[in-house]
Amino acid sequence: MIDTPRITLAQGNGGRLTKELIDTVFLRHFGQPEDHDGLDAAALPLSPDLETVVTTDGFSVEPLEFPGGDIGSLAVHGTVNDLAVCGATPLFLTLGVMIEEGLPLDQLNRIVESLAIAAHRAGVRIVAGDTKVLPIGHGGGLYLTTTGIGQRPPSVRMGMGQIESGDVILVSGPVGDHGISVMLAREAFELSGSVRSDSGSVAPLCLPIADFDGVRFLRDPTRGGLATVAHEIAQGCGLDLILSEADIPVRDAVRSVCEILGYDPYYLACEGRVVAAVAPQIAEQVLTFWQSLPEGAGAARIGIVGDAGKARDRQVGGKVCLITALGGQRVLDPLEDDPLPRIC
């Protein structure tokens, strides 16, 4: 059997092998920087008329590759989406790479290629990076950190504080796809499923509407899922959110895995969805716009803000009520522990 080439500690020593690794894997996919000129940092051409927005995020996922994406595309989308929901056009990324000794070189190549493709599609350039190799047993194969820089017009003024009673809550597509896709790829549950991660950029959904009058707040649900974002919104604006279970889009395949394993789909991670709080007058317009895009084909109106007659409570914050499909009611709390498969 021919052993596949694997990453060695020496490739992280900063010498010739490190340079070779960067050239043959990273720069091969990202392309050589144009005006690099031997410098150790990148100068960014930012517009002085716009606000500059920056965000950073670390990524670890097991397995590194799953149906619909991998840690590479995730590291781009996660950061790009954090910019997009603030109304900022994502422009530049920096990339920190921690590789565990022993990672197959092929796999690293696939992931970096996928990262490059995701960055290209999202219109962001990778302008700086760093690579380290950790001794075996000190990292889950590969960790990535991306810092994203974007710009937005000063007219964008979204925030939880702008949310008002009567506002409408929208979601841009079915929830829980990413969580189930990764879980099925990780665990041998003997469930065959065809669920693909929704990992993708939400910029096309967010940027065109970010400075609409009446778009109060956008957020991409990731870990903790829809329920956690809804809870953050309720806490942040001091009003209750009332969500209607019958209106929340969940794919049949996701629903049935949830039923078997005892998961709540509203707590499962998404990686390519947006939740919006918008004024009732423009809800239909935003919804129609979203539904006209491939990223938002499954968009739906899922609830409203505010209990009639209940005042804003900034101290305690609001809560999230779910009207169940059968007309019952329950509270959605933020995620406590990671969801576990049932054992009864």
Binding site: E187, L326, G328, D337, R342, I343, C344
Partner: protein, 375 residues
């Protein structure tokens, strides 16, 4: 995306239940954390006629897992050569330990123990294969549904560095115990669908035959649960008692013969302790003599007889035992929502996703209800 067809069918069943001429209170017990979860998550209690009381029963394997087993697992996990693997729910369950020692497997891990959550026996085997130099102990708590894959694992043969701390329990003996007690506390039973899938629906015949109570086997979906509920209510009104299989697509007569054969070949059924409740006859699985070599306690010479205060009991002040038996509702425990919340759980019922206290809390019940009165 429209509401799934099953939601429509569930609504129709709900309408049928509302049309029943119920006059007296009917108390319906379920025996499955998954049932209780679905009931709470669908908000069923609020939409059913007020005469119906749904009681969570002995459906949480984590909650009744013997305290001494958790204590032994913690002890094992502190030995440098041992990797202890267990279902994630077990990590936070507290044991009654002497001061200064870890009180849960989570604390044991923080204290340096190699404790890892697994989702299946296959994962335990994988870890043992991948790390042949480690002694891997699989702490397997669960009911028939979880114990069956453990039996299959044993039958297939496990790596020599893998041993078992087995806390498998059978569900029906706990129901028998309740029904033989002075006041069972319920008028009809929803039997666990997944258990019946393996063991066969016939296991539950005794409820109707020996105790003249209506019984139905149901799955986890609201639709199946409501079908089961409708069946037992109708049986009650007609003065009948039988076991109705409302999970017909999945539960077959005789259950799953292969799984039952493997259980029979590898494990024996023995009298077994339930935490806070005591010993229930023929309610536990133990390794058959041919597989006694897999016993983690003897391999690692754990002495079971050490005397500890409150060994075998629930944590001080915790009413889980009565919650598990359906004697009180979770929100009738004195600690519910006050000292005991999912963030700082006192008892196992607030830890496990199958535990009634945890489920009630997660569904939004935040206040304690009046004072405890024995049902």
């Amino acid at each position: 995306m429209t509401a799934p067809a099953s939601t429509e069918r569930a609504r129709a069943l709900l309408a049928k239940i509302h049309a029943l001429p119920l006059t007296r209170e009917v108390r319906v017990m379920n025996v499955c954390g998954g049932h209780e979860r679905s009931i709470s998550m669908a908000g069923l209690r609020a939409v059913l006629p007020s005469q119906i009381t749904l009681i969570p029963g002995p459906g949480c394997p984590v909650c009744v897992c013997p305290e001494e087993d958790i204590f032994a697992a913690i002890d094992l996990s502190q030995r440098p050569e041992i990797t202890l693997v267990t279902f994630g729910d077990m990590l936070r369950v507290p044991a009654n330990v002497p001061k200064g020692t870890p009180r849960s497997l989570e604390a044991a891990r923080a204290a340096g123990g190699d404790v890892r959550p697994v989702a299946s026996p296959a994962e335990a085997v994988r870890i043992a294969r991948q790390e042949p130099d480690r002694e891997v102990v699989f702490f397997a708590a669960g009911f028939e549904t979880t114990t069956a894959p453990v039996a299959a694992m044993i039958a297939e043969g496990v790596p020599t560095n893998l041993t078992l701390l087995l806390s498998g329990r059978l569900t029906w003996p706990a129901v028998t115990m309740l029904l033989n007690s002075e006041a069972a506390g319920f008028d009809a039973l929803i039997a666990p669908g997944h258990v019946a899938t393996i063991m066969g629906p016939e296991e539950w015949d005794f409820v109707a035959r020996d105790h003249a109570l209506p019984c139905a086997i149901a799955g986890f979906e609201a639709e199946s649960l409501l079908a089961g509920l409708l069946s037992v209510l109708e049986q009650g009104l007609e003065g009948e008692a039988r076991v109705d299989n409302c999970y017909g697509g999945v539960v077959r007569p005789e259950g799953n013969p292969t799984a039952r054969r493997l259980l029979g070949e590898t494990l024996n059924v023995v009298d077994a302790p339930w935490r806070g409740i005591g010993t229930i006859q023929r309610s536990g699985f133990a390794l058959a003599p041919a597989h006694a070599g897999l016993d983690a306690l003897s391999r690692h010479s754990i002495d079971r007889s050490q005397l500890r205060k409150r060994a075998g009991e629930m944590p001080p002040g915790c009413d889980c035992a009565r919650v598990v038996l359906g004697r009180i509702a979770p929100d009738q425990c004195r600690l519910y929502g006050a000292a005991c919340t999912p963030r700082s759980p006192i008892g196992p019922c607030m830890v496990s996703d199958e535990g009634a206290c945890r489920i009630w809390w997660s569904s939004g019940i935040r206040e304690r209800r009046g004072d405890v009165v024995d049902a």
